[in-house]
Amino acid sequence: MEKERQVLVVFPHPDDEAFGVSGTIATHVQNGTPVTYACLTLGEMGRNMGNPPFTNRENLPIIRKKELQDAAAIMGIQDLRMLGFRDKTIEFEEEDKMDAIFDSLIQELNPSLIITFYPGYSVHPDHEATGAAVVRTVGRMPAEKRPKLHCVAFSNNCVEELGEADIINYIAPVSDTKIATIKAHRSQTELMFANIEANQNDTDPKFMAWLENERFWTYKF
């Protein structure tokens, strides 16, 4: 993985980074690169309450905020920004307002790499709106000043339409950190975690390939 000057990660929900990006983040941190994680919401609309329930609609954000802080600490992120938006409302915010927030982050941090969702190929409306705002903002910069933009895509049609990911980060050296990050988002990941551990013991090659390789598409303007 190339050494970066500064990385800016922009996602709408705590845990958006866990499965596909946390190994990349941890690697940048290990390389000595400062990483800022701007997380727009606290995932207030999460649905997993447990059976029997371990929380309720009103307390879930408090739990998820703590999980996000723990996950950031595990990845070694020094600069976590919680932007205070509400889950599932990003696409209804004024575009200019969103763009201004990202513009000011970029001005402040001067990142050499931004990681966000690929608009059009990231399924959840908050993912789409977040990625679109970042792409618009970066797109307005003069081409030679733009940071690299690595996007996460996982819609069913993403490979068909975008082709295979052009960036594949092999993160096996930090896979323990990645698993700990996934575990930190316990309210969201506990259910699937049983499977993860079972698979890990088998060292199922398909699972290990998925875990150890993080895929991104460079956004092309």
Binding site: M45, M49, N51, R57, H124
Partner: protein, 116 residues
Amino acid sequence: MMKPIELEKVQKAIEQMADKDVYLHLETTNGAYASHFDETFFSSGAYIRNALVRYETGKITGPGPYRVGLKISLGWVYAEGITHFEIDENNRLLLAGHDYKGKLAVALELSHTPFD
């Protein structure tokens, strides 16, 4: 802590909040990924937070999962699929319906003060 519905307790809590201005949270959801995992699934949902309402009568009914209806000044509020309740430390009545995997499918909450 959310607990399985106890009809009498919930009915009493509903009645205690009648004829007062109360803040309402109401949502239904299939989750944002429903159509991603099953492309034949028609995803829908609705959400309102901090609507200020006043109801004259309210009831919880059904064999479980339960239905809750509130007759407000000029209309109605209702929710179906309610399985759990909690009266929290702020004296808010939290009602929710959780599916068999413990995922929230519907929520109806009433509070004397605005929700965060």
